[in-house]
């Protein structure tokens, strides 16, 4: 009996303390409390830690955890410790919405980072727009932040399709390659690339002589490539991710095609080179600078942050970081910079994010505006060529 009373009393104390803490957090304290411990700033992240997109989500989670520790070790944001809650959406749209609602309703977070891939990111938009919570996505599709008037609260750090397309078109034009064969995988990623590339081709004076698609599960793209061979194309652009991107590259080499082969940033990881078993040599693609940090000139404004990221990440996790983790790095610092200026106020944080100017990050130099919630231009990427299984900077 006495034990039970003790337990109840303990529970009551706990509930009251929790209540006090929560109400304190909901208030708009700008950190002006005199001395002592300031209450923590809470932010949330919804990441694809398990499921098909886990290869994106895991480096992102690692990066966010690493940076939170770093910020808190350095005294937090204006003296307030940072409290980051990371939830796993299992690469699923429904789970993502549930997770973001939980973060907003229960944790009362100031802002949300996520998700890793385009589908779950799109799914969360409705909720954050309605609840008026700033969100920074780590995914590629430009639809996530466009049209901006319906995406007031949404930002993203990964380069949009259009940035990649413009780089590809620029390269082809410069080399005088006008007749292009375009191959894409039949899913949201490939289709996004097709729409963007078709739109950019004509103004750049490029003629798409044949357009072919393949399924993500296809095991042989020889028929599509045979049509490419017959079309008289001067170069091939492929919009796909491994493994099908590797298979089509292998088929390309097997058929003895010798015209230039260009890929999208979807193949920007070592996996693509390994799976293509040597056939990837000669492939040209635009990619974030992180992959070729050692080769970019010291004068590049991003050089320092890239080196810092690689150094800190590989020390902590014993593996090299990749561009996906880089998206998380940028989302984190964009948010921290905004909170530093705006204090714990969601609307003010949103306004600060939109005003971001010249933030030098891993993915590029960000310049946000009321019409651009991505803030990256073509200079955030470089063209690389794969040689001997290594990425080699072209320019």
């Amino acid at each position: 009996m006495r034990k039970r009373i003790k337990l109840l009393a303990g529970l009551a104390v706990l509930i009251i303390t929790a209540g006090l803490l929560l109400s304190g957090c909901g208030g708009k304290d700008t950190g002006a409390k005199a001395g002592g411990d300031k209450e923590p700033y809470k932010i949330g992240a919804v990441i694809d830690i398990s499921g098909p997109s886990s290869s994106l989500g895991i480096p992102e989670r690692n990066t966010l955890q690493m940076l939170t520790e770093k910020i808190n070790a350095a005294g937090g944001i204006n003296g307030h410790p940072l409290e980051l809650t990371i939830l796993d959406n299992k690469s699923d749209e429904t789970e993502a919405v549930l997770a973001v609602k939980k973060l907003i309703d229960q944790q009362k977070v100031l802002a949300v980072i996520g998700c890793s891939s385009s589908g779950p990111s799109m799914a969360m938009i409705d909720t954050v727009q309605k609840e008026k919570v700033p969100m920074i996505s780590l995914a590629a599709a430009s639809k996530i932040v466009e049209p901006v008037q319906e995406r007031q609260w949404v930002f993203k750090t990964a380069q949009s399709d259009i940035v990649v397309v413009n780089r590809l078109a620029g390269y082809l034009k410069e080399k005088g390659l006008n007749k292009i064969a375009f191959l894409y995988m039949n899913n949201a990623y490939g289709d996004g690339g097709r729409i963007a590339f078709t739109a950019a081709a004509e103004p750049a004076g490029l003629q798409i002589v044949t357009e072919e698609k393949f399924e993500a599960t296809d095991v042989d793209m020889t028929p599509q490539l045979t049509r490419v061979k017959a079309s008289g194309a001067q170069a091939v652009v492929i919009w796909a991710i491994p493994p099908s991107a590797s298979i089509v590259t292998k088929n390309f080499k097997d058929l003895g095609l010798s015209i230039p082969l260009l890929h999208s940033h979807g193949v920007g990881n070592q996996n693509f080179i390994d799976l293509a078993q040597g056939a990837a040599d000669g492939v040209i693609l635009p990619i974030g600078k992180l992959t070729v940090t050692g080769q970019i000139p010291d004068s590049d404004p991003q050089k320092e942050v890239l080196a810092t990221y690689i150094d800190e990440y590989s020390k902590k996790y014993n593996s090299s970081p990749n561009s996906f983790g880089g998206y998380a790095w940028d989302a984190f610092y964009l948010l921290i910079n905004a909170i530093e200026k705006a204090g714990p106020d969601r609307a003010a944080i949103r306004d600060q994010l939109e005003k971001t100017e010249n933030y030098i990050g891993v993915s590029g130099v960000f310049n946000m505006s009321a019409t651009d919630h991505n803030g990256l231009k073509e200079d955030s990427m470089v063209n690389v060529k794969i040689e001997g299984g290594q990425w080699k900077l072209l320019e």
């Binding site: 095991v219 493994p243 097997d254 996996n271 078993q277």
Partner: protein
């Protein structure tokens, strides 16, 4: 620019390669179906498991021939286990129930492969080094020749088994009349076990041979299983030769429609052919020509 004849030849090579992959799966399906009366829709998963297991064993440093033997034996044992645990206890059930069981098996095996190997594709190198062989302006990958070879060897071995061995005759007796076979002392349960182990072995061998071309992923089995089934129906469910023919017809048709008409048409053609065969010749192309030998 390439001329039409070398383009057609190129597509034919591709079609035959794809066709022999389908043919191998159809062979295993038809063999099991004829012995046990069960249409094993988990056949594609045996292919996936073979490819994945072989890729892991090879990555662990074992030589390729040993990898082949271990993988085929491993998946054959798994096929036997599956039969004992899921098919045998339900042997009295209707064939529809048994088919549903194999669908369940397919989903569980895929889940198991996902847990063990994850979602990243695995790699198995080509058996023979060197680039593609050029014939008449068209290129053929040496691995395709290996796959043709495997199809021929498998077909020959199955033929020899059914026609020349005592065990093969016992199996065929079960196929023709279960009750009569039991009366003369043949155990249909043991034959069913043998059929599943055998189709596991064929599936694993197919998986190992195609992995250098297709890479090994946990979800590669489903689509292959479906195409193998279509090939078996085209050829006739009761004929091993028909299964091979069906596989080749399906593969070549798919590639020609993708290469000459439109790349979006590939899977539609497979289903159209399936429908046409079911409507016009439900017994399959070879069903009547070969008849049922007794």
């Amino acid at each position: 620019m390439v001329d039409l004849s070398s383009q057609l030849l190129q597509l034919l090579f591709s079609g035959l390669t794809l066709g022999s992959i389908y043919a191998l799966i159809a062979l295993a399906l038809v063999t099991t179906f004829n012995i046990t009366g069960v249409l094993n829709l988990a056949q594609g998963e045996f292919v996936a498991l073979g490819a994945l297991l072989a890729a892991s064993l090879f990555a662990a440093g074992l030589p390729l021939p040993l990898v082949f033997i271990l993988t085929v034996a491993g998946v054959a044992i798994l096929g036997g286990l599956v039969e004992r645990s899921a098919i045998y206890p339900a042997r009295g059930a209707s064939s529809m129930t048994l088919i549903i069981i194999t669908i369940g098996l397919s989903i569980s095996l895929r889940g198991l492969a996902l847990l063990v190997w994850g979602t990243d594709p695995l790699l198995l190198p080509a058996f023979s080094s060197g680039g593609p062989i050029l014939i008449g302006g068209a290129a053929i990958n040496p691995q395709s020749l290996w796959i043709f070879g495997l199809t021929a060897v498998t077909l020959a071995m199955l033929f020899a088994f059914f026609e020349l061995t005592y065990l093969g005759k016992a199996v065929r007796a079960c196929e023709i009349n279960r009750t009569a076979a039991r009366l003369v002392g043949i155990n249909p349960g043991a034959m069913s076990l043998l059929a599943f182990a055998g189709s596991g072995a064929i599936g694993a061998a197919a998986g190992i041979f195609i992995a250098p071309l297709t890479l090994a992923t946990y979800d590669m089995g489903f689509m292959l299983g479906v195409k193998g089934f279509v090939a078996a129906v085209i050829g006739g469910m009761n004929n091993v030769g028909g299964a091979v023919l069906g596989g080749f017809i399906l593969g070549v048709l798919e590639i020609y429609s993708a290469g000459l008409v439109s790349s979006g048409l590939k899977d539609a053609v497979a289903l159209l052919v399936l429908l046409a065969v079911l409507l016009i010749r439900p017994e399959g192309l070879v069903g009547v020509i070969a008849g049922r030998k007794v």
